[in-house]
């Protein structure tokens, strides 16, 4: 199927009447996913949004339930967002990150209804990356610029139009409902050419990385790697797969709500025990946790690397602590590396 670029606003306006539609919107010098009220609000010029699409399913602050406590008992009211949603213009890396996060929020013992309800009620319309950035390394971590994992429809930008690839039944139903025209053979060929031309120049060699991480927890490499890290939460908050959170009460007396907020393994109080004991005493342990979680623990638990190669942490770290360099250092590390 195919949709002309000039028809996009109309296509979105129709969706808006039925769904809550999120799309990249210009916000100062970058774009963010926002609910749009008009099809013309969308801005697909940026390579990617500043914050990943995870924030739609796992917002920075999310009300879990409200409560009202009286002498007789406590009335607890769940706040579930069951609105039907469409995410338009999500990049394949962000879409794939959600497939990874599904493992966490639907684990072997518990289901998170807040995340999963939104996931179940959302249609994901992705857009492939014709010109990946020099900091994109999706192909090194099992992704690609036109990867379809986590998507229902994938748009391929062929210049004046998007060739629409149907990935799932949900996507098919939506495309049919929107009466998208069939793509001509020439369009299909153009799309195939675009996909072939898109190259991810940045390669991060992860061969043997996991083997190293399996054994190097106590190696001296970690004494150096973290040294310039400021211990802020920028990389974790901007990361599409980081999912740590805190739970707090937002209340006056006994009436209020329980809220979950993004939290970060970079912060000292993240693991600080009530007794004052902290299993991760310094920046070294905390930075090691971030790398171990993504490239070892997540792999041990779910057989997937918890990194989609979007490059946000690379572009936004205040001190240029580049994860690509870190991984290379880890890969090259020796048990007796010393200086």
């Amino acid at each position: 199927m195919i949709i002309s670029k000039k028809d996009i606003p109309g296509f979105l306006d129709k969706l808006i009447s039925e769904y809550q539609v999120f799309a990249p919107v210009q916000e100062g010098s970058f774009t963010l996913f926002k609910p749009i009220s008009s099809g013309t609000d969308v801005d697909l010029t940026a390579a990617n949004t500043k914050l990943p699409a995870k924030e739609i399913f796992f917002p920075q602050s999310e009300k879990l339930f409200s409560y009202n406590v009286t002498e007789e008992g406590a009335k607890v009211e769940e706040t579930l967002d069951e609105q039907k949603k469409v995410i338009f213009g999500v990049r394949p890396c962000d879409a794939r990150s959600l497939v990874l996060l599904d493992n966490v929020f639907d684990n072997d013992k518990f289901q998170d209804p807040y995340y999963l309800t939104k996931r179940a009620n959302t249609i994901m319309i992705g857009i492939g990356c014709n010109t990946p950035l020099s900091t994109c390394f999706c192909t090194s971590v099992n992704g690609s610029p036109f990867d379809t994992k986590g998507l229902d429809l994938l748009l391929v930008d062929t210049g004046d139009a998007y060739v629409v690839e149907v990935i799932s039944d949900k996507g098919k139903a939506l495309a049919e409902q929107a009466s998208l025209a069939a793509a001509a053979d020439a369009d299909k060929i153009a799309a195939a050419k675009v996909k072939e031309a898109a190259t991810v120049t940045c390669q991060v060699n992860i061969d043997g990385l996991k083997d190293k991480l399996d054994v190097n927890f106590y190696w001296p490499i970690w004494d150096k790697i973290h040294e310039k890290c400021l211990g802020c939460g920028a990389c974790t908050y901007l990361c599409p797969t980081c999912h740590c959170f805190d739970i707090v009460d937002d209340a006056k007396d006994c009436n209020g709500c329980r809220v979950r907020n993004w939290d970060s393994c970079a912060f000292p109080i993240f693991t600080l025990h009530g007794s004052g004991h902290n299993p991760r005493t310094s920046n070294k342990e905390r930075y090691r946790q971030r790398i171990m979680h993504k490239f070892k623990y997540f792999v041990d638990n779910f057989n997937e690397i918890a990194c989609v190669g979007c490059g946000r942490c690379i572009n936004n770290c205040p001190v240029n602590l580049d994860i690509r360099v870190v991984l290379e250092d880890v890969r090259g590390s020796e048990a007796r590396l010393d200086s």
């Binding site: 010098s29 900091t135 040294e227 802020c232």
Partner: protein, 318 residues
């Protein structure tokens, strides 16, 4: 620049070889165009990786606290002012510090560079005298370095390190103190307008605390935002009031201590205009007490002194 880099390497190698210090904190080439990155050299060989460029924007004073032994630091004007302020607050011991001072006429703001290229990605930058050539994926642009500097660098009149053990390069001609025009403009706005600005800026805040952690003066063992007994501030980012409260308290805590290096604003991933807030107390402290943070080792910090002549205008409401 490359000449300065060579001199820095030489100085660092010598210090390490002669074991006058056990660590030199400086910059090395980063992984992105126009990106110097903090670097820690412990051997003369490692010192070979040190560099100096228009992209050495981080404030290295951040890395000096609690470092054991004697440490040398490659420090531009603002780094040295932070170091001086930290010495006065007993956070650094001058005797354990060797300052390799580097006069600095400003560092390039990558955001300004990116804006010049529009939606193209910046792939390389070449320095050419007073100008730089910025290469994008489809085209390249030549721009004057002076037009690309961080705003904090434009406003800085302390490019020359105020204290040093060794100077690299030549001292720069004295620069006039900057006006505070943008602060005055902000002050002239109505309360409602200022409020609207704050609401709009701080709705972007994601509470990652990059501003706080990038600030050399934000070294509290327990920041008030992390304290939960009592809980001074809500932890949820959806409440713009709490985001503002966080920053306002931070800014007040920096009154008379902030050296206006701009590290907070540069660290912010969300592009919040933080210097508009941090510079207000800088201006006030200068006007009220004729004091600036970290400009010499002799003066006591503004908020640690009292004289009968101190202006008390802020105590009275007429």
């Amino acid at each position: 620049m490359s000449k300065l880099a060579e001199q820095i390497k030489g100085a660092a190698k010598k210090l390490l070889a002669e074991q006058k210090v056990n660590l030199v904190v400086g910059f090395t080439e980063g992984s992105l165009p126009l990106r110097g990155t903090p670097f820690f050299a412990r051997t003369p060989e490692e010192a070979d990786q040190l560099t100096w460029n228009l992209d050495c924007e981080n404030n290295l004073a951040n890395y000096l606290r609690k470092k054991p032994g004697k440490v040398a630091v490659v420090a531009k004007g603002c780094d040295v002012r932070s170091i001086v302020a930290l010495i006065k607050e007993n956070q650094l011991n001058r005797d354990n510090l060797y300052i390799i001072g580097v006069p600095c006429s400003g560092m390039i703001d990558r955001k300004k560079v990116t804006d010049l290229l529009g939606s193209q990605e910046v792939l390389a930058i070449e320095e050419n005298g007073d100008t730089v050539v910025i290469k994008g994926s489809n085209s390249s642009v030549t721009a004057k370095i002076a037009d690309l500097l961080h705003n904090s660098c434009g406003d800085c009149s302390y490019g020359n390190p105020v204290v040093y053990d060794e100077l690299i390069g030549e001292l720069l001609p004295k620069k006039e103190a900057a006006d505070f025009n943008e602060i005055k403009e902000f002050e002239a706005k109505t309360t409602a307008e200022r409020r609207a600005f704050m609401n709009s800026e701080f709705s972007k805040c994601i509470r990652c605390y990059a501003c706080r952690n990038a600030c050399p003066m934000c070294y509290c063992e327990e920041c008030f935002v992390d304290c939960n007994q009592p809980e001074w501030i809500g932890k949820s980012a959806y409440n713009v009031e709490d985001n503002i409260l966080f920053q306002v308290v931070r800014v007040f805590h920096l009154a008379g201590r902030c050296v206006d290096c701009g590290a907070c604003e540069r660290a912010c991933p969300m592009g919040i205009n933080l210097r508009l807030l941090t510079r207000k107390p800088v201006k006030d402290v200068k006007e009220l007490f004729n004091a600036e943070a970290g400009v010499n080792l002799e003066d006591k910090p503004a908020l640690a002194t009292f004289t009968n002549d101190d202006s008390e205008a802020f105590l009275l409401k007429e």
